[in-house]
């Protein structure tokens, strides 16, 4: 197992696409140290920015494991396009973590910035702290978001989580910001805590499940029924009862928005339409 720790506090963004188990596999620590990355507008070697240690413990045996210890909030694009292996980050991490990753696992024992798992195609990301905006969302202009895989955030997330999502599962155990599931095509987003307004705006399909409070539902959603429970994935179910809304009708969508009845007495006015 390779353990990286930053040698100093970074003032400028560091583009660290090369920090990925796929790239590290089969390389000696000195070869890893020679990998190039950009810090601001300067190209630097990995060893000039990070301390590289090789540690072997029983639980993390195997080559494709990588640990980063320390504050790396300025380090972006870690695990970009990774296909296998595990990255464990003990500390806060910068933007675009696991961008377009295809497999493997990333665990963050801290907070993550925006664009976690942007356009990811597989694998899983678990964040024990909070995540920023645009969780799993694609870059501006793209209409193809997360394609597959799983993201679990134990804390809160910012706005536009799961935008343009095509498939996969996002679980947010804290609260979510505005526009959760914006323009999603398919897949599942589960928010255990409260969700700010405009959940599911412009969604075409898929489902958004909100167990906490959602102040109001967009007027372009129509109430469909009340369900006792809903399945998130093979292992998890949310107990209801839950209101089911269909939308976004402004976009001719048939997505489903499930909102807990118990935590949302303000939505009881919809019951008369059932």
């Amino acid at each position: 197992m390779i353990v990286l720790s930053p040698l100093r506090e970074f003032r400028f963004p560091v583009m660290a696409e090369c920090i990925s188990p796929d790239v590290f596999e089969g390389k000696t620590p000195s070869e890893i140290g020679a990998l190039q990355m950009w810090e601001g507008n300067k190209q630097k070697s990995l060893e000039s920015l990070f301390k590289i240690e090789e540690a072997t413990t029983e639980e993390t045996a195997g080559d494709a494991t990588l640990q980063i210890v320390g504050d790396i909030r300025q380090v972006r694009r870690i695990g970009s396009g990774m296909k296998k292996g595990t990255i464990t980050i003990k500390g806060d991490v910068g933007m675009h973590l696991g961008e377009e990753m295809k497999g493997g696992k990333i665990i963050v024992q801290g907070d993550a910035e925006s664009w976690v798992g942007s356009m990811m195609k597989g694998g899983s990301i678990e964040i024990l702290g909070n995540a920023g905006d645009y969780l799993a969302a694609p870059y501006r202009g793209c209409d193809k978001g997360m394609k597959s895989g799983k993201i679990i955030v134990h804390g809160n997330v910012g706005t536009e989580a799961g935008a343009y999502m095509q498939s996969g599962v996002i679980k947010i155990l804290g609260n979510a910001g505005e526009f959760t599931g914006f323009r999603m095509h398919d897949g599942t987003i589960y928010v255990k805590g409260d969700c700010m307004e405009r959940a599911g705006a412009c969604m075409a399909n898929g489902k958004v499940v909100i167990e906490g409070r959602l102040e109001s539902v967009l007027p372009s959603f129509s109430v469909d029924s009340i369900r006792p429970k809903i399945k998130i994935d093979t292992s998890e179910e949310v107990e209801g009862p839950l209101y089911v809304f269909v939308g976004d009708l402004a976009e001719n969508g048939s997505g489903k928005l499930y909102v807990s009845k118990k935590n949302n007495p303000q939505l009881s006015c919809y019951e008369k339409f059932l």
Binding site: P138, Y139, R140, G141, C142, D143
Partner: protein, 563 residues
């Protein structure tokens, strides 16, 4: 410094040179008969082909709609970017590259002259500023006049001479090069929510028809002695069954042709060669169009070849773009440019497995192969509408090799494959014909006297590609030809070697050509006209023209009109 390109196999169709081994000498940015070898810088082109620099008759590289396309599509940029080098600037964009990147990419393929075919007169300043910022290539721009209100009014009155004078004024004030006609009559009809489909449909509120507009502008073009013909994007473009409109458009100016000289250019003809009732029954109308072309000499044409890729469609044809938005549901832009034209942008992906797209792909190549005279059918992708210009090497491979076509045919939609005429066409273009369809023919059609050939006096714009025509069977080794055309071994621009082995060595700025049309009596600018500028335009008459001192790289071409 003098330059001598030694021992290349030269293909120079305008001077009838077909693969002869010879030297090309350059002095002061011009091609000359000979230079003192001792003093000249020598470029060893032995075992390579030497052609004039490429000419592109139709490529949307600048202007407000290109720029709006850039703004609309950030996703086109982040996947394709170039870092700066010691010679070049950084840039982004695949289907709509930034201006500098556009210039570099053309130069890497050995292109040195490109024509921006759609400039709304109102946006002329913007267009020219962008063209000024496009390095490596010479360029020009065609103002959109097929829907310009004054033109429509003159033509409705049948006042061709006054219309011609007015066009001379527009050419001078927008610094334009040729008359561009997009969906004649249809775009101003679109401003009122209508469209025109056939040549004899009346343009609402203007008392004229597309036939009158095309014929009138064609006559005005002849009166003004403009070097290029009128450049026409037909009515009903992109609609099934429109090949009859294309043929009618060619027929309607048949009697205006003088001594077999072309009088009309039909652009991106692939989009105008659809046969069938609707999208399900779509078929190729290329055979009919090619048949007409082979029997008549007054038309030139370019392909508008489809490339299976993600691209951005942008035309001045607002109603067509709106229909395209309806088909795709993609993000879109539609814009009415005051009293001049309209415009629309929709990102689009051409898919191999789509029946319609595969048929379209086939139509472009059928046109290029079935039309016998390479001097009248040119290679374009209508960049970026049917695909980015960076795909030209692919098209060259399809044109020179049946094997290349068959390799691609295998991968397209099976129903489209069974309908395609391509398996029955054995023609393979020679390198000489490629030189015609990619440079000499285009330069000739554009009336650019110093471009597209390597005779003494021509501009020293030269492309050297690493293919040995003596030892290579280009039909079988189409992949190596494709590679060679993708990265020119050398590109010479204005007598300087600017690209070597596909890398830009030096950034040079090109010139923007425009027509300084001299008429015997200036266009009538009445008080009424000025008043209408004040009423209907956001720019007043006095502020309308592009002044020469506003721009750096302008190069006027003097034209003496016979009106």
């Amino acid at each position: 410094m003098d330059l001598l390109i030694k021992n290349g196999f030269v293909f120079d169709p305008l001077n009838g040179v077909n693969g002869e081994k010879m030297d090309i000498a350059v002095k002061n940015g011009r091609i000359v008969g000979d230079v003192v070898e001792r003093k000249a810088r020598k470029v060893d082109a032995s075992g390579m082909i030497v052609m004039p620099g490429g000419v592109d008759i139709h490529t949307h590289i600048a202007g407000s709609e290109v720029n709006t396309g850039r703004l609309l599509r950030p996703e086109d940029h982040f996947r394709d970017f170039e870092r700066k080098t010691s010679a070049t600037r950084a840039g982004v964009g695949r289907s709509i590259p930034s201006t500098f990147t556009t210039g570099y990419r053309y130069a890497r393929m050995g292109y040195t002259t490109v024509m921006n075919p759609a400039m709304a007169p109102l946006e002329a300043k913007h267009t020219h500023e962008e063209l000024d910022d496009t390095p490596m290539v010479d360029k020009a721009s065609y103002p959109l006049l097929g829907n310009w209100w004054f033109v429509l009014e003159y033509l409705a009155r049948g006042d061709i001479e006054q219309c011609a004078r007015h066009i001379a004024w527009i050419m001078n004030s927008t610094k334009g090069y040729a008359i561009k006609v997009v969906n004649p009559g249809g775009l101003e009809a679109w401003g009122f929510g209508h469209n025109v489909k056939e040549l004899d449909d009346e343009v609402p509120y203007f008392c004229t028809t597309p036939r009158e507009i095309i014929r009138g502008l064609c006559k005005a073009n002849t009166l003004l002695n403009l070097p290029h013909t009128i450049h026409v994007h037909t009515n009903s473009l992109g609609r099934p069954g429109n090949y009859t409109t294309a043929i009618d458009t060619m027929k309607c100016v048949e009697d205006l042709a003088l001594d077999d000289k072309p009088v009309i250019h039909l652009t991106h003809c692939q989009f105008s060669a659809f046969k069938g009732e609707d999208w399900r029954t779509l078929e190729s109308g290329a055979a009919e169009i090619a048949d007409y072309m082979n029997n008549h000499k007054h038309v030139t044409m370019d392909m508008g070849q489809i490339i299976f890729t993600d691209t951005t469609t942008m035309t001045a044809d607002g109603p067509f773009q709106y229909a395209l938005y309806g088909l795709t549901g993609n993000k879109w832009v539609n814009h009415d440019v005051e009293t001049e034209t309209s415009a629309g942008i929709v990102p689009f992906r051409y898919r191999r497995k789509s029946y319609v797209h595969a048929i379209q792909w086939s139509i472009g190549l059928e046109l290029a192969l079935l039309i016998k005279d390479p001097w009248r059918i040119f290679m374009t992708t209508d960049h970026p509408n049917a695909g980015p210009f960076t795909a030209y090497p692919k098209i060259i491979a399809w044109l020179i090799s049946k094997n290349a076509r068959e390799a691609s045919l295998k991968r397209i939609n099976p129903r489209a494959r069974s309908k395609s005429l391509l398996p029955s066409i054995d023609r393979e273009l020679s390198l000489y014909e490629i030189a015609i369809t990619t440079r000499a023919g285009q330069a000739k059609a554009l009336g650019l006297k110093n471009k597209g050939h390597l005779g003494p006096g021509a501009d020293a714009d030269i492309a050297v590609y690493n293919v040995n025509p003596e030892t290579t069977d280009i039909s079988r080794k189409f992949r190596s030809v494709r590679r060679a055309f993708k990265k020119a071994a050398y590109t010479v621009k204005g007598g300087e070697v600017v690209v070597k082995d596909g890398e830009v060595l030096k950034s040079v700025s090109g010139r923007t050509k425009w027509l300084d049309v001299k008429v015997s009596e200036p266009a009538l600018i009445t008080e009424d006209m000025k008043k209408r500028f004040r009423t209907y335009w956001t720019v007043e008459y006095e502020n309308y023209p592009v002044y020469e001192d506003h721009l750096e790289g302008l190069e006027p071409i003097n034209v003496k009109a016979s009106v």
